[in-house]
């Protein structure tokens, strides 16, 4: 029997055209491989175009998580793929990350001090609780930012002392459970106002009001 033939087998193209065709096919295949297939399938991306086009993410390392959906009492288990970042390095201090179930709290307080008056505002923190704070006074004050551990008696640890200043900003990771806050003394003759904002996780804020010499007046 005779085999059916393509018209190109009856009159084949010239050797030059054939070579050009094969070269073109090879070149096209090489470009497709390097630009698209290798980045997408193996994450090999010599041109960097695969990353730009988002192809390298397709077969990036992933692992599968089982998600349980309970809809209308019917439990359905579906699997989702999440990126696999590999095994983590152990965290030396677990207190670095503290997961909470509620929003962080922000509280703003204002204290008016007449000339020479003093006050204290303390946040109540467990060990390792974190606050971010900012205070400003519309006049010059002496301030002492410090912490008390109830077991210390009268002792305290100092975080920052300003002989004279009108603002303070920062954060604190409580070194121990107790009261952590600010002592302010007005250095003005006229009344000034201190505005303090604390954000973070704290158990409460204690306002001691006007104390010492000013309170006695």
């Amino acid at each position: 029997m005779t085999d059916p033939q393509s018209p190109f087998q009856v009159s084949p193209p010239t050797a030059r055209r054939l070579l050009a065709t094969i070269a073109a096919a090879l070149a096209a295949a090489l470009i497709i491989l390097v630009v698209a297939v290798l980045p997408a399938e193996y994450g090999i991306d010599p041109t960097g175009l695969g990353r730009k086009m988002g192809l390298t993410a397709i077969n990036g390392p992933t692992r599968t998580l089982e998600i349980r959906d309970v809809i209308g009492g019917n439990e359905k288990i579906r699997e989702v793929k999440v990126p696999d970042a590999g095994e983590p390095i152990p965290l030396p201090n677990p207190a670095v990350i503290q997961l909470k179930k509620v929003d962080a709290e922000t509280r703003t307080m204002k204290v008016a001090l007449k000339g020479g008056e003093e006050t204290e505002i303390k946040t109540l923190l467990d060990a390792a609780q974190v606050i971010v704070y900012s205070w400003k006074a519309d006049g010059e004050v002496y301030t002492d930012f410090h912490g008390h551990d109830p077991s210390m008696g009268q002792g305290f640890v100092r975080y920052e002392e300003q002989q004279t200043g009108h603002e303070g900003h920062g954060s604190l990771v409580a070194p121990f459970s107790g009261e952590h806050g600010w002592y302010w003394l007005s250095l003005e003759d006229k009344t000034l106002t201190i505005t303090l904002t604390v954000t973070g996780y704290f158990n409460g804020i204690k306002d001691y009001g006007i104390i010492g010499q000013g309170a006695a007046q």
Partner: protein, 228 residues
């Protein structure tokens, strides 16, 4: 051949390749889990999976498209499809039963090579070189390679020994049914194309594209082999 024709042919082929690659190849995750969980003969599910593997297997489809590119008579299509089926059935059955572990990347690279071979033959490359290759022997031989591809993919799964033969036969029957479905669709598409009057102009370009796809498959699999 006008630029418009080339664009049209390119567009259709690219769309087909993209659509087929989107399904991926090999036996998909859920199907694999099913196959590993069953024991005993499950004829219809295995048949379905065989058919699905063939219909969504772009490497098999590209080769088939190349094989029937210039076959006009249904008799010839049937002959070549049968030779291909005999080839891949042999290695599928023997491969799984005897537990022949061919490297999947190498087998798939050879399958990519079969696509390149068929495209080269279609554009008359072997005739120009003065090489005589019996096309029927070639399709049978490459059928054997495609069958190894099927068997390595089945063997990647921990199939139960219980009912193995029945399940392979079911899978094989499905593969043949899938081949009939795929061939029918490819033939219909070619029929439409041949009637449109652009077939003669586009045939050379289309085979060049099939060859390109074959080279891409080879590069893809050989890279996989090197990396593995």
């Amino acid at each position: 051949m006008t630029a418009k024709h080339v664009c049209r042919v390119l567009g259709v082929l690219m769309a087909t390749v993209v659509a087929l690659s989107a399904w991926g190849h090999g036996v998909a995750g859920g199907d694999a889990a099913y196959l590993e969980s069953v024991s005993g003969v499950h004829f219809l599910p295995l048949m379905y999976l065989g058919a699905k593997h063939m219909v969504t297997g772009y490497d098999h489809l590209l080769f088939l498209a190349g094989v029937i590119f210039f076959l006009y008579r249904l008799k010839d299509v049937a002959l070549y499809a049968t030779l291909f089926a005999i080839g891949h059935s042999c290695t599928l059955l023997v491969g799984v039963l005897a537990g022949i572990h061919a490297n999947a990347h190498i087998v798939d690279a050879i399958i990519g090579g079969s696509v390149v071979y068929k495209a080269l033959e279609n554009i008359g490359a072997f005739r120009r070189m003065g090489v005589q290759i019996n096309p029927r022997a070639a399709v049978l031989l490459f059928g054997l390679a495609h069958g190894f591809g099927l068997s390595t993919k089945l063997q990647d799964l921990a199939l139960s020994r219980d009912g193995l033969l029945g399940n392979i036969i079911a899978f094989n029957v499905g593969v043949e049914l899938g081949q009939v479905v795929a061939l029918t669709m490819i033939l219909l598409a070619f029929q439409v194309w041949r009637r449109s009057g652009t077939f003669a102009q586009g045939a050379y370009a289309a085979n060049t594209l099939i060859m390109t796809a074959g080279f891409v498959l080879m590069g893809f699999q050989l890279t996989g082999y090197v990396l593995a």
